[in-house]
């Protein structure tokens, strides 16, 4: 994942003192890592605007129109309502996946045979694209919140389980022995040795899970129940309102970025002794 961050260019700078802020801002903005992409984006939007005005507005919206529509969607409250639905479902589904995934992962990591036996089934579910199980969700849970929740859960819980299990399994056996020789019970070993050792693994599982949760929530909203940002995309796509569709897509992308950013911050807090990657 380090690669995507680095592709992003601007690294995370330590918080500057207010006195240096202006100078730092100037220094940052004239850096080639910032100025090149910025110039390029300007060029990109200029070309898009130019081309967009030539083409049939039914198919293609120039950025000026997208921005105007974005303003309209915000003022009407439509975008905010949709975002709240999407973020709410995402939060519940992800929270559920974490609450189930980490304990199950610890269990599968400690019971080696069970872990090995269950793994193929987890792999199979993981390898099934979630769009194709939408009909099953409708059949089992009906068209509604539960089905959408389950779509998120199914995709998110598995990477969390699998990577937690790997981390717990790979905890250094000598540390476990030391803990046991000091009289630690199974619970203590998990709490003080295996879980701390598994932190980087759990973190990577949480991160993969987060990406999949965002996909899951959108799949649910486009294919299962037309609601939230996914619903906004689909409802506007069938009317060829490409500007509205683009606005919703951008908001979804931003939700994903903020989500991953929060996870990164959390990981740095949970494991301050590790060098942040």
């Amino acid at each position: 994942m380090r690669t995507t961050e680095e592709l992003g260019g601007a690294g995370v700078a330590p918080a500057p003192r207010p006195a240096n802020l202006v100078r730092r801002l100037v220094a940052i903005t004239t850096r080639p890592t910032v100025i090149l992409p910025a110039l390029n984006l300007v060029l990109f939007f200029a070309v898009w605007e130019y081309v967009g005005r030539q083409i049939d507005p039914i198919l293609f919206s120039p950025p000026s129109r997208v921005i105007r529509v974005f303003g309209e969607l915000i003022i009407s409250g439509e975008l905010l309502r949709a975002t709240l639905v999407t973020v709410g479902t995402l939060a519940v589904g992800y929270g559920l996946s974490v609450a189930v995934g980490i304990p199950v992962g610890v269990l599968l990591g400690r019971q080696a045979v069970l872990g090995r036996v269950v793994n193929p089934y987890l792999d199979a579910i993981y390898a099934t694209p979630r769009v194709v199980i939408v009909p099953l969700m409708i059949l089992w849970f009906g068209v509604g919140f539960t089905g959408r929740l389950f779509l998120i859960f199914l995709g998110t819980v598995i990477p969390i389980i699998v990577s937690t299990a790997v981390g717990v399994r790979d905890a250094r056996p000598d540390l476990i022995e030391v803990a046991q020789s000091f009289g630690a019970l199974g619970f203590h070993v998990v709490r003080h040795v295996q879980l701390p050792a598994a932190v980087p693994f759990v973190a990577s599982g949480l991160r993969i899970g987060a990406e999949r949760a965002v996909v899951g929530v959108v799949v649910g909203e486009i294919f299962l129940e037309l609601t939230g940002l996914g619903g906004l995309i689909q409802l506007n796509a069938v009317r060829f309102n490409t500007a509205e569709v683009l606005c919703s897509v951008v908001v979804i992308a931003v939700i994903g970025i903020v989500f991953i950013g929060l996870l990164d911050a959390l990981e740095r807090r949970v494991s301050p002794w590790r060098e942040a990657t």
Binding site: E6, L7, P37, N40, I133, P135, A237, V238
Partner: protein, 265 residues
């Protein structure tokens, strides 16, 4: 007879017994539940297998799979080629990297599902539009891994190659950079394959025009759960099979790599 006797201990040695037991419990429970409970919600395993047999024999499943596989192959190979080329370019040139990375990053963080309606409006509901969905789903994973692999190639290897007269960009790429990048590239390809399968499924389910996705949404719409399960089943098999294939190719490269690193030490 003897062959069977010999094979049992070797199974046991590979730890197959718990797998078989667990599988028996899972599928036994499933079958029993399907027969006793609501077979519309959870069809028994035997009914799913019967449906699978019927779908295969009638030619519906093979022809749908063929259509899907064609779509997957077209989109994935385009993603591999273009991702590779741009990965090499951005890996070698900092200016190109800084110029292009915002676009690829934007594409990478946007779930492909959200783009599907837009892409299909722009590029049409025919084969072309669907190929572009698969392509978009997979291309950035390839690009990022090739980029990272080439950028992080050990500089001492480059120095050695230079001192032995490998000076052209192409020569460096062929003899040093790409070889050093193989593990990263392969992991990117594995990621891309998984994403391409998802892209394929999304495009087909969205359009309901053909391929395995149309088969699935068709049977889902009429609540034929046994046929629904039978037509979903090929997808995880396809995904896992392709991932295993990539892993095999990776191991071949890997064996060569161990040899090379031993030689360099």
């Amino acid at each position: 007879m003897t062959a069977i006797r010999v094979s049992i201990p070797s199974w046991r040695a590979r730890g197959a017994v718990p797998h078989l037991l667990f599988g028996a419990v899972i599928f036994g429970t499933w079958e029993a539940y399907g027969r006793l409970g609501d077979s519309l919600l959870v069809p028994p395993v035997s009914a799913i297998l019967a449906a699978l047999y019927d779908l295969t024999l009638s030619g519906q499943l093979p022809s749908a799979l063929l259509e899907s596989a064609t779509l997957l192959a077209a989109g994935l190979s385009a993603a591999l080629v273009i991702g590779f080329v741009f990965g090499v370019i951005t890996g070698r040139s900092k200016v190109m990297h800084r110029t292009l990375s915002p676009f690829f990053n934007a594409l990478f963080v946007t779930p492909t599902v959200a783009l599907v309606p837009l892409v299909l409006i722009w590029f049409g509901f025919e084969f072309q539009g669907r190929v572009i969905v698969v392509f978009l789903a997979a291309v950035v994973a390839v690009l990022i891994s090739v980029h990272a692999g080439i950028r992080d190639a050990p500089p001492d290897l480059v120095d050695v190659a230079r001192s032995f007269g490998v000076d052209s960009e192409i020569g460096l790429l062929r003899h040093v950079l790409l070889r050093a990048a193989v593990p990263l590239i392969m992991s990117g390809i594995r990621l891309a394959v998984g994403r391409a399968v998802v892209g394929m499924a999304v495009a087909e389910v969205y359009l309901r025009l053909g391929g395995i996705g149309a088969l699935i949404s068709g049977y889902g719409a009429v609540f034929r759960t046994d046929y629904l399960f039978a037509s979903i089943l090929p997808l995880p098999i396809m995904g896992i099979g392709l991932a295993a294939l990539v892993a095999r190719i990776e191991r071949r490269f890997q064996s060569w790599r161990t040899y090379a690193s031993e030689a360099s030490e």
